[in-house]
Subunit: 287 residues, 4 copies
């Protein structure tokens, strides 16, 4: 992972045209950059072009201060939307959680093991149940319960905590509150949710119960960016596992926990390594 700290990521979206890859990679080469990866994709339906370029930090002539001026001619030529990520400092990932601690524990463990090279400045919950998990990992924990009628106020408090923690991305690690559109607009395509079903199947509440009642032979988990529409944002990662008539709802929940942990961890890793571009409510994921 520390390799990621020494990797500059440049993300690009623009109208498709001839010569974009040549222009971008020539620019990198002229600045002494060693190209570690260059992935691109063209959306055939909308003629949109997407690119992710990974450049070795060592040897690259430009810095955060000098990059923009040098890059402007290329960006303007193709009318690009773009962003650059210098690998350091690492991203600050705030975690929101409710009562179920398995995804939280898993993310904390992956940070500790070095697999996720991120800062986790804060864990916020509407329940006190997971306070110990955060505390043992040395991460500040803030409980902000939601009562009937206090939802808007609670969201303002959470937003203030996130701002104070300088969160780059917000991970809903089984946070069982629907965020208001206003909240979502503060972190466009920077709130990652794990939904415990194979979306679009079983959106909404109690998906394992829904799955049990429908009698499906597989259950799934879906990680997606949160948008104003519930469970309808751009999907980042999904996985599924077989079930049988022997599985009770408790069994589905047990099997599902492992799916949720894996799928959410994968989505968070893809996000913090700047491997995801969003367009038309879909993701382009450069793995």
């Amino acid at each position: 992972m520390s390799a990621m700290r020494n990797t500059i990521r440049l993300l690009i979206a623009c109208r498709d045209a001839r010569g974009i890859v040549a222009a971008v990679t020539t620019f990198v080469a002229e600045q002494g950059g060693n190209l570690l990866d260059a992935d691109q994709h063209t959306d055939p339906d909308h003629g949109e072009f997407f690119m992710r370029v990974a450049i070795e930090r060592a040897g690259f002539a430009l810095t955060p201060d000098t990059f923009d001026a040098a890059w402007q001619p290329v960006a303007r030529r193709f009318d690009m939307q773009w962003s650059i990520h210098w690998g350091q400092p690492v991203k600050r990932v705030a975690i929101l959680v409710s009562k179920h601690g398995h995804c939280l524990s898993d993310l904390l463990w992956r940070r500790r093991s070095g697999e996720l090279d991120v800062e986790i400045p804060i864990v916020i919950s509407n329940h006190p149940d997971t306070a110990d998990i955060a505390r043992e990992a040395g991460v500040p924990f803030e409980a902000r319960p939601v009562m009937p009628g206090t939802k808007a106020a609670q969201e303002r408090e959470v937003l203030a905590l996130l701002a104070a923690a300088r969160a780059d991305v917000v991970v809903l690690a089984r946070y069982m509150q629907v965020l208001s559109p206003d909240f979502v607009r503060h972190y466009p395509h920077r709130i990652i949710n794990i939904h415990h079903s194979f979306l679009p199947a079983f959106a909404g509440g109690a998906p394992y119960r829904q799955a049990y009642e429908r009698g499906v032979k597989m259950i799934g988990a879906t990680s997606h960016y949160v948008t104003e529409q519930l469970d309808a944002g751009p999907i980042i990662a999904q996985d599924a596992a077989p079930t049988s008539h022997r599985d009770t709802i408790a069994d589905l929940i047990r099997k599902g926990r492992d799916l949720e942990r894996m799928v959410l961890a994968r989505a968070v890793r893809l996000h913090v390594e700047d491997r995801i571009l969003v367009s038309q409510n879909k993701t382009v994921v450069f793995e």
Copy 2:
């Protein structure tokens, strides 16, 4: 598979009670039967008990003529619904298909290879496209097109063909017509459909297009018994495969064909080996 010809299958459903397994297996032992398999399941929500018993034909004292009388005391004691399948003659599987021949080809190949030990007495289609596939396999092919206003008449013709073919089970191998409730009632839990999505996601038409537009990261296929409600019958088997932003709809269709073939073949095998019981719109599958 020929082993299946020498295996008697007894399927049982009743209220749960103590002593059912003992009563059934004692009955089998008393009749000289060698128990090859005895699977059971209790639905904890409804207190319903399900059992499948597989008995070696050799040595079993009873025959189709003498079984019922001997079995009645056990069946009555527990108020069982039950059926017995003697392995021979093998089941007669009629196939309905429209334009896409991949599932049809696959089923015909599995019969030819001996993997599916069944008779396929007829292939019926509302299009002429797959006539060659049936013909090469030596199976009678009947085209029965559907025109605006002729659907009811066409269904009557199809039912007549199925009756003449003495079909035990009807497989919809990508048959793109919705069957009327009346048609379905002729073959209760004996019509097997393959739907090209991970149900309940993307029910209805054009599921690969729906999947593409939603931007899912996996596609699926679902085999289920047909009921009067479209794509809502008891699910027999499902599988899923990963996709990415690079996949066009054509790619999803290509990947999906393999899923569909595998999932449908599995469902048909489970059915003809009498491994499926249906209750509460769900299946109990004894593999």
Copy 3:
């Protein structure tokens, strides 16, 4: 899981014969037992019969004190090898580990969450690295390093610790020492190892390096009972995940960690729920 505490498990192995299932289930019914599960399997190569019976504790007339006498007639009639497990007290699982803490963390987390209903009385390591993980979970940690020439002495110390902890089963959660045949004989089919490859591929040391050098397109993990032959004991569970040319050894290790955690946890769960019988260096796993 607490359901498991109220479930009695009876495991049986004997020569195949007619009437075994009837005799066993009749015995259970006569003792007022409610049969929760009754799985059996016959090994066609060796004519050996295996059975697992799960009985609801409530209502069953026998106790640990009275069972044997009542059961002897059935056991003798079929010359059975058998064992009974009363669900309480739960099994005592000792964990041996070296430097890598991911499997240890995962097992501790599953116990904490209630998914694994076991006691973990001790964690023993030949390295001090994972002491904190055990300590945070409130489990005694004992370091017993291995030096050149001290292996036999260290094993004696470990055996003494295991005896003092009254371990029922020993889990090697990435314990990188080969156990001596003498050690293994103390816990026949009660030492569970996780090997980080798809055995029998890449047995021995550095399996991810071996996999990388061979250029495989999937990596795997294998959980098995430890026998005197290295990496050759009866396999309990396996899983595999796709890889590509882009994966470095570090990537294989990262992907492998998740496989190892899942596969080991599954094997431990199957063992502590008494779902595994061993014969001919293979496992019969009643899931």
Copy 4:
């Protein structure tokens, strides 16, 4: 697939250096080429660089006659090994088979359905069993049995048939003869085999029997290029499926057939779309 006919593929291998991607993509842009894909990979162990470029045929200024001269400056600058594939005519795939027809049937069906856009000019077998399958598909079938002492002569005949059929690639669709080193040298990295195990586990004969005897919980299939060392060539694709103690060898064979068909078809597709580069006995697969 017909899209592949209109796609030019350029494959490159050379020592890693700065500016390669820029040089290649600039060249393509200067020749009016629309870049459909540009994948690259650097082997960190050997400092080797690999690239696959897909160019839309329409608009590209160069032809098979004029390409080499225009390209030489770039190729020489980086001392490249390279090849170019114009998409038309499609590749000629010869199939060698023994008694088991499932992979042969599957490949023929995929060609028929348009999924594999190739010519299949000949099927050669050392047994007559699959003659009907080839015949029904309208493909010439040649039986060339191997007797004790006639292997060398048979190989010469097969090579003559392949030469007459102008085969670009040879697919061993369960051909149960070991090819001599001399035969292999005629088609370097152009002979694709399917081995019915998860290599390197169970190399050599009777892998399903080996798997059964070892008691593995998953079986696999491996497609690889044939080299002079048996079952040791560069791996192209692998897959695996779960098994249990209930599976007889016949069940493993049945489950394995589906794995083999899928894995071989995938490898053939990757090869004919020029997505594979070989180095150090490993494959780089640009999907």
